[in-house]
Symmetry: D3
Subunit: 145 residues, 6 copies
């Protein structure tokens, strides 16, 4: 198996691997600031999840990309083709792009903690979830794991 | 003003100009083939409209791009932040991506006929409306004017 | 079920639906014109398949997009993670991007003929297969069905 | 060398290969319709040239992609980092995106005729030149060769 | 109104919202290192502004995206369709992509400080302005607010 | 020559310039976790290198973009159209996307140290190398210089 040799590199080193998927939902926003978006409408969100760590795992990767993509798809299944206004997880909250990014972050973080991305994934140190809602707007949530 | 000189070119010549905008809606599909998309959900559609003609107008363009973008935005205002299941224009029909593309085509074609894109736009000979619903799927409708 | 009403539209009308997938292969080219690409190397191909027809099917769509994406993935499985230099389907031929596009076209055309995309898909009249091999180059093959 | 075997395919078959490059220029437009674009400004144009033909050449490709990219770059050198208002090729004309697309088409067509893309390129039957001027607008010119 | 509940998350949490717009200008560079770009030419810049903060505002968003997009457009109006060589704001400086990114950053930062993005926007902690000048090059400027 | 005046800006300021190129290789992975990717296959990698620093150089830029792009191309020449399984630089290691990103980072860092990007480039403080292997996956490596 590959062996990660030490290299003469500077500090603040980070490796990242990102996978992409998408989901489509209906929702509405509460608050005058949202104007016509207070009406029931919907969105396609193209989701990029970036997994980060300072050292590669014994296979020479950040994370098993197949497990990562599969787990992301499974998390998104919880939202696909749904009206988020009826989802108790968001009761009393606006399902803004950035709020949804945090929800996906937290569900993936939980999956990582319970080992769903493999033992190697326990070495992940941070993650960023980005949702593109159109060709001109996107939101994201990132944090340590 | 610019004068379009004749050039020694072959047949089947076409000039195209495209403008992009987007809109977000809620809807659902009827038919078992649609699976979970039979539930109320939604989508962001990134719309590209291509205007086509064999000769440029006296200003040396296919169409006044400002008028074209403005008219597209106005047509999309008829759909923005709405639940298409309640729109009488689509009563008894599925608002598939390709069906929506045709609706936008027809509304723009009408606007062109009534002069909303300027006199020069009467020289347009065909048009294509493309809707991207995600990073992996899109639909379009095109035809002569 | 949706009913497609006739509309006062011009000739040469076409509806299109496109789906995207990708595959990664190794290969080499024969011919001095290919320079260093005569060595064994590889490529990622991002594939867009556009299905076209002049009328929508009874469900109001060009094709069942789930079946289309599934069938494309199955066709690409025949190439994924392989060395095309060893594939008898291309014996004596260069597996150029445009040649691969034709191969995928023909395998999908066969699948359509044998009903793998549903009965409605028999109304498809043409198809285009596009392979992006980088951010600056792509090849495609299109034709009637 | 690869031999192109005949296949049982339908009519209207076309192979395409596209290459991408870009150039940056200054210019201004004449005509009230252009509003503030009548002032001296500029643009980046990302150029895609699609070469088309119904049969592959003896090497199994549409065109030698290296020669095609090199010739496109050479044509764009005629515009790079220039003020098009001072270019006699466009005297009395607006250098609209679609007009520039035609100019590049014609210069490439001339290069093909004089053999700059190789003997095989004489089998090219049509070409399309697309210029993206922003993330929301583009123009193109296409025609037979 | 939505209430942001505390969640068991790690440190270094950041929410981001980005909006996109573009502008087109003429300019030239001084310095031999710039080669032909010392001539008067121009560029399209596609601008992405990322607004960042560790907590959402009372509406559950990073910033009122309508106000943010409107303010960005207003800042870009100061550059649109202009020859930056004549802009006193850049006297004696090269208007490189990265320098322009800083200028837009500073003008937006001033707008935020004077409340143009709403009271909630005072919680923004950092910002990044990215300018894409072509499909292969971009520059950005980021910093705390 | 341009002079960089001090501005009243907050801390943690960073300027970035990015350039893009690509390369195509063959390789295989060792480890059951890689499934069919254990077979000899290949990939196109679209590479973005972001150069970062807190102050611009005397020319008002992060780095001479021509030298940067040229040096990146030269580093990628070491990989182009090769079978990485035979490259001693990766003996006993998997050439994962993230591992390749580090290799390119280290070769560019060495080039910067020996002055290949000009004297001004010694002010660069960090760098990120991102490799897109498809429309849905990418890997990167970043660190201080």
């Amino acid at each position: 198996m590959p062996h990660r040799q030490s290299t003469g590199r500077g500090p603040n080193v980070v490796y990242t691997v990102s996978v992409r998927d998408h989901f489509m939902i209906a929702h509405s926003f509460r608050g005058e600031v949202f104007g016509p978006a207070q009406r029931l409408h919907g969105a396609t969100y193209v989701v990029d999840v970036a997994f980060r760590r300072p050292e590669l795992d014994p296979d020479g990767v950040v994370v098993d990309i197949g497990l990562a993509a599969g787990q992301l798809s499974q998390v998104l299944d919880g939202f696909r083709y749904r009206n988020l206004d009826e989802d108790p997880a968001f009761a009393g909250e606006n399902t803004s792009t950035e709020r949804l990014a945090r929800e996906i972050f937290e569900r993936l973080a939980m999956a990582i903690r319970r080992g769903a991305l493999g033992e190697g994934a326990r070495g992940l140190t941070s993650m960023r979830v980005t949702l593109r809602e159109s060709h001109v707007a996107r939101g994201s949530y990132e944090g340590d794991l």
